[in-house]
Symmetry: C2
Subunit: 406 residues, 2 copies
């Protein structure tokens, strides 16, 4: 049996999405910028896809949604163009972000620091989220941008974006959110929440890899990252990736229609899985589940290295993760657990399990069984676990990181 439980890394493209895309490879293949029928034939499908993405996040007619090649591009675009517009060619010099952003934000901030930009990396609380008052206390009159993710990729924890947005608005500071782990998983309404820019990625909600978007409130100015032809109103050059735009539209529609029902179904499976895993002694999950995206569990199993666990699960066809796939080539400690305050040994025990709307009850049962067996196998050979006397009755629970474990 093969069970995919790594949907925060990427997802299977929905068959309906593939079906929608395929005609645009070899049948309707014109360049949308061309004036002849081969080009214009692509336009109704593009318009429809754009409408689908607008609807998925409740954007208004005044807003822009610009397709990019991925959320990494969207994140780079916002950070680097704010640097050009407000710092190189303005009087600001400061960007505020968090310690637990995706590598595409953190690495870009490191690059900007090398160019002389001052960056504040906000700490998170024991739940792994940044608190609004923390954001407020670090904004200065030199701050050009605040960039805080909507939901965390490793824990699924949902950040208080509405409150942070209000703070940025009242301070007159631009606000960007990496919405990659939120869109398609929880309701996202950009008219209810104040965000100037929001990054999205299709492959996190059963669209293809290699297409993303940037939401731009009120079509406000932002220097393009990719300059060139007048594609997308001159905001992002490069021949339009027609099949993937069509696919992203379809995937966004499928993921967000009746989202409350979908969330309920996924949450039920997630909670059942989580409850079963927490019956194991000396385990805990990071962040209260009501505050997480409904598909995500980050579980720590004392005495079991995440990588060993991952390999054992992999033997049985289960795909899980120790954290961001974008950093997984180096077997590093889970960065969110470190940010919360775990020591390196503990931060190496994190296993992320992320479900999708395609996850079945049978798959959940399979994971529960194999997970328990794997933990038993690995603890039996764990030198670190043997040294620690297991707490009677275990430490299972859903909580912030217990002090005696850090």
């Amino acid at each position: 049996m093969k069970v995919y439980m790594d949907n925060n890394a990427t997802t299977m493209v929905a068959p309906e999405v593939v079906e929608a895309m395929v005609p645009f490879f070899s049948e309707v293949y014109g360049n949308p910028n061309s004036l002849h029928k081969f080009g214009t034939a692509t336009r109704p499908a593009l318009s429809h896809a754009i409408d689908q993405v607008y609807k998925a996040i409740n954007a208004s007619d005044n807003d822009d949604i610009v397709f990019t090649s991925c959320a990494t591009e969207s994140n780079n675009w916002v950070l680097k163009s704010v640097w050009v517009d407000k710092i190189l060619n303005g009087d600001k010099n400061h960007i505020v972000t968090t310690e637990v952003e995706h590598p595409s934000v953190l690495s870009t901030c490191k690059f900007l620091e090398e160019q002389g930009v001052k960056v504040t990396y906000l700490p998170v609380n024991s739940e792994g989220i940044v608190e609004p008052h923390t954001v407020k206390s670090f904004i200065t009159d030199k701050t050009a941008l605040v960039s805080v993710m909507w939901a965390n990729n490793e824990t699924g924890m949902i950040f208080p974006i509405k409150e942070i947005g209000e703070i940025c608005k009242s301070k007159g500071v631009l606000f960007h959110t990496d919405g990659v782990q939120a869109v398609g998983k929880i309701p996202v309404d950009v008219q209810d929440v104040h965000v100037d820019f929001m990054s999205m990625s299709a492959h996190k909600f059963h669209g293809p890899k290699g297409i993303g978007a940037l939401y731009i409130k009120d079509s406000q100015a932002l220097t393009p990252l990719l300059t060139g032809g007048e594609h997308m109103g001159g905001r992002r050059s490069g021949t339009l990736n027609v099949p993937y735009i069509v696919g992203m539209g379809k995937a966004a529609e499928m993921a967000t229609e009746n989202i409350e029902e979908k969330m309920k179904a996924i949450r039920a499976k997630r909670d059942r899985l989580e409850d079963a895993l927490l019956t194991l002694s000396d385990t805990f999950t990071v962040g209260q589940r009501e505050h997480r995206t409904p598909n995500t569990i980050l579980i720590s199993i004392r005495g079991v290295e995440g990588e060993g666990m991952l390999w054992d699960l992999n033997r049985f066809g289960i795909g899980a993760s120790t954290g961001s796939a974008c950093a997984s080539e180096h077997l590093e400690a889970n960065t969110v657990m470190l940010a919360i305050g775990a020591d390196h040994e503990l931060a190496h025990t994190g296993i992320r399990i992320s479900l999708s709307r395609y996850t079945t009850d049978e798959e959940v049962d399979y994971v529960i069984n194999h997970f328990k067996e794997a933990v038993a196998r690995l603890r039996a050979i764990s030198s670190s676990y043997a040294k620690v006397k297991p707490t009677p009755g275990g430490e299972a629970g859903e909580c912030h990181i217990p002090e005696h474990l850090t």
Copy 2:
């Protein structure tokens, strides 16, 4: 009948390419950076695709080929990162390019000028190419980069890249070439020609839109444009677009294997079409055909506005162009014809016809017939053509722009 003659704008994705890509949407859909089987299952196909692209341009093992989302990204990457590396953080301040580059190079140069970079736009000769001695004469000790296209998108004219590469090498200046219109159309051998960086685009050779690459000689340093996770050795972040990388590899292989034979077949059709069109009076094509990519014709028909001609052909199902699709939303004069020295009226008479290996003899015949009829129709209502006494015997020919017409 529908006849697509705009293959320099984009191409139909080859059915074999679609077939190669499709399994990577919903079957082998893991993130290549993931450590489990779902992720590692993608890797053999990725390796194979990379090998195919290496082979297509005869890159060596010391080189890097980094996949990007399009050639616009590749071009932006080189220009903007050379700006960061050699100008913002170095002692250079000058970039050399040409007047006839693709908008993704020209617009990026305009952006760099706004940031204080000095840019020289080299003129072209009457054939529409930049001459090596011109490049040489503008390089100074402040020049960070020379960027000259391998083949022009509008005329198909092939530039003396080997000679320009040698000049840059001897001067110690980085050399970038936009190889978009060369790769897959003519032999491209990066071990025979000295180029530090070369941009490529899959959708110009029957691969999908939304994937390109940058060739980097000897894996030399170049600050990433997209910073983030450690994808592609940290050179270009963003989850790998597995289906399109596989598709680009397959398309590159198909386009470049036995390329001499393919060129011969396309050239025969192109030449037959060109000869037939040049029997019309007062027409000429830009650039000697032996020095062009074998699929391209840029023809000027005196007294006939390109846009009118395009619409007339479009009525009969023929897709052609007045120039770069990337600039076609604005009905501008053909920029290459302007650069050669045509006045605006003449530069509005250019029609670009670009064939592919899928073009049939039947399609060529169809275009010849309708083209001639369209010219007759449009000349009959042309006020500008009526004013000019047609030259006896016509001015048909393949030549630089005649002085009396400019």
